[in-house]
Symmetry: D2
């Protein structure tokens, strides 16, 4: 059993703690938060779980093998580095850290000590993304044409992160899970509204080294909640709509071939709606976080590199940092 402590019991921490508590490979030893009220809640939720406001109770304890960090982004580096230096395996909430440089330092430290360092890109562990990932690698999908994602809803997020750092990590992590080719360039535009000092709407354009294009629309100021990702290939197109109760994933025949024009040429051939069959696979109803926690346990025990390990986490931050810079520069393309 891996003895673990959770740091941060705010928005996401309770979900992490609940899943570590349930998982038979882990022994959740303690929950740490600087806010005593959150710790009261932890105790109520987790049947008298030991709690503390002092992270040193985890760092300095011989009874702790791993630490899960679910605190604001700007604290990730300090807390994760402290944990690694005390020889703890680390799971850190996404995004890994607030900058490429700090991610690199964390990677070096984890490698030096041969510790597992994993980023909680939960979205990658959803059943829909896992299904897409398998299908993507089958010969039924064809070549990747493009990835398009829309994540919008109405909500004010008063936090350390803007809308890009909050929502885009999901899409970047999935893109990297699917695409063979690395991101070559990033451009982003965005805007602040309603008196906010942080962008609450942004558009990211990514181009991969092999020429494939990806585009992400992230938005906290939309009247309609949308969570829709399209992964289009030469043979099939996958649409993952997380707001659908059932039928979250739909696979369409691409069904397009180029007609090279006759002499006339100027009359358009209108092929509205889809032209091939569609299928929607049944997905297991397993919670993504449960899959992620299992994977973290296995990687520690077998000393394997996690699917969303430190290098993957760094690659996501590299894109986020570039998008942030691009937005400041009025949308200029930043090479990676």
């Amino acid at each position: 059993m891996i003895r673990i402590g959770v740091v941060g019991y705010g928005y996401w921490g309770p979900n992490l703690a609940r899943n570590f508590h349930r998982n038979t490979n882990f022994d959740l030893k303690k929950v740490v938060d600087i806010d005593p009220k959150r710790l009261e809640l932890a105790q109520a939720n987790l049947s008298g779980m030991p709690v503390s406001t002092d992270i040193r109770d985890l760092l300095c304890s011989d009874e702790i093998d791993a630490i899960a960090i679910a605190t604001p982004i700007e604290t990730h580096f300090d807390l994760a580095m402290d944990a690694l230096r005390h020889d703890k395996h680390v799971l850190v909430e996404k995004p890994m850290s607030h900058s490429v440089r700090t991610c690199e330092l964390l990677i070096a430290e984890a490698q030096r000590r041969n510790l597992t360092l994993m980023v909680d890109h939960t979205f990658v562990y959803t059943e829909a993304v896992r299904w897409m990932s398998d299908y993507f690698r089958s010969d039924q999908f064809g070549d990747l044409f493009y990835v398009d994602s829309v994540r919008t809803n109405l909500g004010l997020f008063q936090r350390d992160a803007d809308v890009i750092w909050d929502l885009a990590p999901h899409d970047i992590a999935v893109l990297q899970t699917l695409a063979a080719s690395p991101v070559a360039g990033v451009s982003a535009t965005g805007a602040c509204h309603a008196g906010s000092r942080q962008p609450d709407i942004a558009y990211l354009s990514l181009d991969l080294a092999d020429g494939v294009m990806a585009h992400f629309h992230v938005n906290w100021l939309s009247p309609v909640k949308v969570r829709r990702m399209t992964v289009a290939g030469s043979k099939r197109m996958m649409v993952f709509d997380d707001m659908e109760m059932s039928e979250k994933l739909k696979i369409y025949d691409t069904g397009v071939s180029i007609a090279h024009g006759d002499e006339q040429g100027e009359y358009r051939m209108k092929v509205d709606y889809r032209v091939g069959d569609m299928m929607s696979p049944a997905l297991p109803q397993k919670e993504a976080l449960q899959t992620m926690v299992e994977h973290f346990g296995q990687c520690i025990q077998k000393n394997e590199i996690p699917q969303t390990g430190a290098e993957a986490g760094l690659a996501v931050v590299r894109v986020l940092e570039a998008a942030h810079c691009s937005m400041k520069l009025g949308g200029e393309r930043i090479k990676l």
Copy 2:
């Protein structure tokens, strides 16, 4: 009665001809197309309407007051200029022409001869856009936050235009109808797939002079047909979903106010879904093209400037040309 001829009986021409035929202010005299088969169809549809393969039958006739042009984009300039020089009023299919320079020449010619020159931006005349436009100008909407539009479907369009020139004019024209401020800059990215030589997917980012952002996603290679435009303001947000059978237009309370943080601050306040009432106005079921044709007739008879007149048409082409250039330059922002 305005005596009119229609040039081009391909994809859109039949709709134009049918509406001129029905409108009591117009007398549709003749349909011209270079393809005799299309003219046969015109005769069948319009009860023996006179037809011709030679446009000079319209240009040189004293019995023609106006000419409607529904031919491929690259012919708009030649045909419209010929028509103006023969002292005909002109309605030209959108976009007005293939370049800013040719639009300017057409405007000069029309002004010199005091002729009506109008662009058929049909979308502006839909009941939904008219309702949005009125509401936008009321004090219920507040300040414009942003405009976002998605136009996707699966279809191969073998034509003279890429996906930007085909689909984006709708959104640009609506934006100009709504926003007081002109477009200051444009950047665009896009890609070609499936062996096509023309972009079949593109993303346009526009910034207006007053800092408002607009973004359009146009796509011929999507498995799902989407026609959704969001116009967000400080008090209300309007969503026009043209794929809805009923309830095409929904008006949401914006319902957001900035919470300036307490000491804690780092925990996000999650306000999912919408927080205010929504209403969906009943819209008249009038065909947009019928409204457009009526407006063209009134502008000729009263010598008034059309809502989508030559200057408006030029403004649309200015954005299209800039988007085209930006795409070639890898997404660089083009100032207008």
Copy 3:
């Protein structure tokens, strides 16, 4: 070529006439209506088609082989009988007639003269119903469990028919196309509202001879337009939603097997949402009416019994009449 005349140019007649006009097996000779204004419209739509207000121009003409009747229900019997007695093949709008007895007389007359007598149950000829019908007969569907249909919308229908005679023929005809077993009993309840003297909402329960149940909800007083038919079998379930733009037809794995309880037994096993894959077949975009007209032509030429021939039309009316009686008797089950 079959020389045909159309009687009745009101709501449905124009669609019939247009399709006969286009079909190369038919020569549409004349349109008859008692209202001269409707005939003007027919001439405008059909390029100077000959018209008449006197049906004898069709009945007594040697140049007419067949007559299509699209008039109010209570006139079907008189007009169809006249046409048969003048040795014309007959297509009559659904439902076949207002009573079982009159249908039987028409059948006898048509058989005596060896004429084709067909009922225009257009819905049976839609691509979705044809697909369902083929699939139903394959071994993938399993045994029929039940049929459920909902047809609702908001509309005032000022006519000779109540909501049952107007909307239920679609469902009854499809049921008979699918199910091997005849209808054994019918019960119906309904109500009148808003000052109407005719029921505007009704529920029909049908039981087939083999015990299968069908239920139809027809409603003119609903705020939402629904056209959804579920055909459930032991292996698959088919849902035909005609209000979907694409994906009109969805095929679900039934995915149910009975778990016989353990000792505990009293806790329910909740299996929410669906548990198997779903697929949505691509359907050709052919107009149902075109298929129907082709079929009518073939049946005349080959002297074959139509899929929706006189016996099928009678079977529908038998159910309608029983539903009407049941409703009058407060929902009592009427045996057939």
Copy 4:
């Protein structure tokens, strides 16, 4: 503080216990179940809550004021009667009991001892139903035309109840909350499939004393989960779709008036889709069970009759029993 015990920790009990645990008017003292495994779960969920397999620990305790019963239906009477006879207030899961007679005995016992006896018709306490109820009583709704409800999903429920006793109580309870007039008659049809001995699909037709009709479709064997209730009035129509993430409740202008025919009369006036505005009110996100628990507490403390008190619970069972009988008699109408 009302000291309460919960009996039954199967499907619904955990929700009840959680809400009593949280509510400051209640002191949850103990959870009872005959299955030790369920009690282990209760202890885990509720931080070491005292548990027991013997209900006498509640009945005979002076430290218990009220008992909440969430056990299978056929045990409701015995358990509730025991609780009342030990002078405990009682909340019993819906439906109140398995027969009218046993409900009447419970009512008599509760009245004799002046105890609160309430039925947990949770659905009545949802924010949507509360909104509908208020609106219904306002002068904006008009006269009630009809109520139609569809509750379908795919699921095997291995239990003491068939689909009517499981799903229809929701609709019957809401109907009684809204309609002034009592149910006068009930008819029901249903069927068993897939080897089940219990009906898994049923249709209930209710007629109220004032002539209004209600119809409920309940179904465990549908590929699509539907939870949609329509309450139609002469001025407005309310549609409550519980599967919608947001916009669960939509209010439509009825927008119908009867056109009394002109001479012609036989041509239908087709008014498709809706003709008036629609609005969707924002609803608080409060859990219905929380509202129900608060109400139970207030009724005990103020000795008031609950909204879903014993008489209301009996009225629901009266309809269920009648529906059960009608189904056995082939759909015959049962007078109440």
